[in-house]
Amino acid sequence: MSTRRLWAVLLLFTVVVSGAFVANIAADNTPSLGLDLQGGASVTLTPMGEFEDGALDAAVEVIRRRVDSIGVAEPEIIRQGNTVVVNLPGVENQDEALALIGRTGAVEMRPVLNIVEQQAPDASPTTTTGEQTSTTLANPTGGVGESRRLPSTADTDETIPAEPSNEETPIDDGVSVPLAAQSGVPTEGGGEGSGLEPGQTVLPGAKDGLLYLLGPAAATGEVFSSDASVQVDQGAWVVTANLRGGAGGEDLWNSLAARCFAGGADCPSKQIAIILDGAVISAPVVQVPSFSGSVQISGDFTEVEANDLAKILQFGAVPVNFDAPTVQSVSATLGKDSLDAAILAGLVGVALVLFFLFAYYRLLAVVAIGGLAISGMLLWSVIAWLSRTNGLAFTLSGAAGVIVSIGTGADSYIMLFERLKEDIRAGRTLRNSATRSFENSWRTIIVANTSTLIGAVILWWLSIGSVRGFAFFLGLSSLTSMIAVYFFTRPAVLLIANWNRLNTRGVLGVKSSQVLGGEKS
């Protein structure tokens, strides 16, 4: 690469990163800090009226589910006595979070009219019949119908056989899903031009990426008693829920089940959707016309999915209603002194590392210092910007993620410089060995960072709470340090190597007495 192009890359990258940094400062975007570092709002929810003790525990789990779905900001949810305390980091834009937490979550049952895959509005809807789907409902005590063990709806791709029946019209009698409904926005029926009958609605599946066209709500979670449980039956996880007796329980459920088993116009798919918080949690196929005492939901559940469903049924059976939440501001758990101590210690630590690098690698350490500074600026900008736009909060676990990447980032430089030294000792000139060394160590940097990134993405994707925060910041900072190595360090090292007056071994701290085979410098 020509010297001119190297300069262009180096300068352009430095300018872009500094520009982003300055722009964020100018816009007053600063990283917001998490509960442990800065405090936030403490929301206390007090149940209204009578409630069962176990119901409050179930409610805590459901609220945790909701709050965790907000993002990576690491909220804290505890049950304190007979109240539920939700601590939220940051103090801005709390309204949305409050609305989400305070909402009463009723579990509803609706007949499924049609299912389409969620896709771009201009594509034609692909239809699947209920028969091909999913979880099944059976009566464990009474005569069980054919208890087919088909994969659950939760595992989309494999299960709903993508059966791309190219027919434009859905299979059921004329009820077509309007295009507007496919955007994933829940649409309540009845409105002008929505194309839905009154009471009908379109809701997304909680996990499966499908859209469900649903008939009017036919029952609530209160048809069940609050002891839904999970068992293993014939090697598969099943959820069993007992029906309450009388008109509000077994009778109500059976009238819905009978309608769906018949597969008539109001329930052509034979599926009953279980809905919480505007999402279809599960939509099992009814296998028997009537149930006595209990209902068994089977499918290709994992243990966690089965437990989730049981918890939701427990919650739906005895919904706890809360008074209007009271909000207080809460101070940081770590305290101001801890935060100051951590920042000071962190700065001293980084200074020590830089001093060490300088003592060991002499002039080339300037490249490392520049590279680390650039990647730090880039990281700060991204965090500040995400804090502003996405409510991201920087926590102690996030700091741990960043600490890892400072270590591995410094390692990138050490690896490169050790390669350079090795080559120079073997008699090559700096100019000669720079490209080769960079290519060699860049390969190692890519492999090692890719595995870190894979790990971070998996942990972020699959976990919740502080583990998720850790993974997010680990991934983000590994990425920024890789970007800095390629766009800053590479041109900088190559330019130094090309710089004639500097082309001596003193740059790396290699004494000429150690170099053999090419004494002339």
């Binding site: 405090g39 305290g335 000071l344 980084v350 030294k421 595995s451 790990g455 919740i464 850790f470």
Partner: protein, 371 residues
């Protein structure tokens, strides 16, 4: 020795001493697991729940004096969470600590009341549940299992399956030992500890992969020679040793600063536990990449068809220096090995030159035609 290291003239026989590392690790792992079964872990309030006091922030009561009250009542301060709650009308202090006996709770209640100058009926005492829900642990464990599978597949694809096994073994080793230290010393486990363990895992994996990369590079370099896999490991280790040392120093320096400065001088307790976990874990991580990951790969690779004939042969000292310098095994032993195959009693090699002499006078690198 440091001079040698600095110049890259080190020829340590890592692979030959693998049994020492294996034995030490085995003992430590057994001790860790035993301790985990006998003593268990000292789980903090975030995992087990506890009691929460809410006291009006009147009189002398604030976050600092509340902490003083706790230490006056001999309640261990680690893992205690003290926060102020501010609403439009009043300010209160919320103190959360792990489960206490009713007597201690009563004593604390009256002590807080005295400090705040209020009647003890104004203080609310409630049980609190864990904030770290069961779901968090289950999800985290699941995520870790998937993480192991996918990263192992990645290593197996990028390098080879033996290396996936080696990386896996060393990461598990580090986590078990770190958890073991927590169990042995009964240090309280907080969510920060969990993150610290994840951090350790990240480091350990990164360090291991850097060494593996060098090993696969050297395996290709020695492809045409009769070098044993043990030699490949030794040469690679010695090549990356200085990098490993430097990287460990530059990773541990900030942690030491956090430990000494943050926790020691500035007295931020919650940080000290975090720093201790990181410090221990990083030491284990640096150790295991060298003494667990690479030797495990060695044991597996030596059984492969290519390296079986040379299994057990190690070029040490001067021979290793020749190997590093020239890229081919030299010396009478290696020659007899390559001529007569294995099975012959190796004759003792005459040390032709010193390690220094060979490594500081490498042959001039062959000129490569530039592409």
């Amino acid at each position: 020795m440091i001079r040698k290291l600095f110049r890259g003239e080190n020829t340590y026989n890592f692979y030959g001493r693998r049994r020492i590392g294996f034995t030490a690790s085995l003992v430590l792992v057994v001790v860790s697991i035993a301790s985990l079964f006998i003593g268990g872990l000292n789980l903090g309030i975030d995992f087990r729940g506890g009691v929460a006091f809410e006291v009006p922030a009147k009189g002398e009561l604030n976050v600092t004096t509340a902490r003083d009250v706790l230490s006056a009542e001999n309640v261990p301060a680690s893992g205690v969470k003290i926060q102020t709650l501010t609403s439009a009308t009043e300010e209160r202090v919320r103190i959360q600590l792990s489960d206490q006996t009713p007597e201690v709770v009563e004593a604390l209640k009256s002590a807080f009341a005295e400090k705040a100058g209020v009647n003890s009926s104004e203080i609310s005492v409630d049980k609190v549940s864990s904030s770290w829900g069961r779901g968090v642990t289950t999800k985290a464990v699941q995520a870790l299992l998937v993480f192991f599978v996918i990263v192992s597949l990645f290593i197996a694809w990028r390098f080879e399956w033996q290396m996936a096994v080696g990386a896996f073994a060393s990461v598990i080793h580090d986590i078990v030992l770190s958890v073991g230290v927590y169990s042995l010393l009964q240090i309280e486990v907080t969510p920060a500890t969990v993150t610290a363990f994840l951090t350790i895992m990240g480091y350990s994996l990164y360090d291991t992969i850097v060494i593996f990369d060098k090993m696969s590079e050297n395996e290709q370099r020695f492809a045409a020679t009769k070098a044993s896999y043990g030699d490949v490991i030794n040469v690679s280790m010695n090549a990356v040793l200085m990098r490993s040392v430097n990287t460990s120093i530059s990773s541990i320096l900030p942690v030491v600063s956090l430990l000494l400065l943050g926790a020691g001088i500035l007295g931020a307790r919650s940080l000290s536990e975090f720093a201790v976990a990181l410090f221990i874990g990083m030491l284990f991580g640096a150790y295991s990449s060298i003494y667990i990951a690479a030797p495990v790969v060695g044991l597996l690779k030596e059984r492969s068809a290519r390296f079986l004939p040379t299994k057990g042969h190690l070029s040490v000292g001067v021979d290793m220096a020749h190997l590093i310098a020239s890229g081919a095994p030299v010396g009478r032993r290696a020659q007899s090995r390559s001529q007569a195959g294995e099975g012959k009693a190796p004759s003792v090699a005459e040390p032709a030159a010193s390690v220094d002499a060979i490594l500081s006078h490498p042959p001039r690198p062959r000129k490569k035609s530039r592409r």
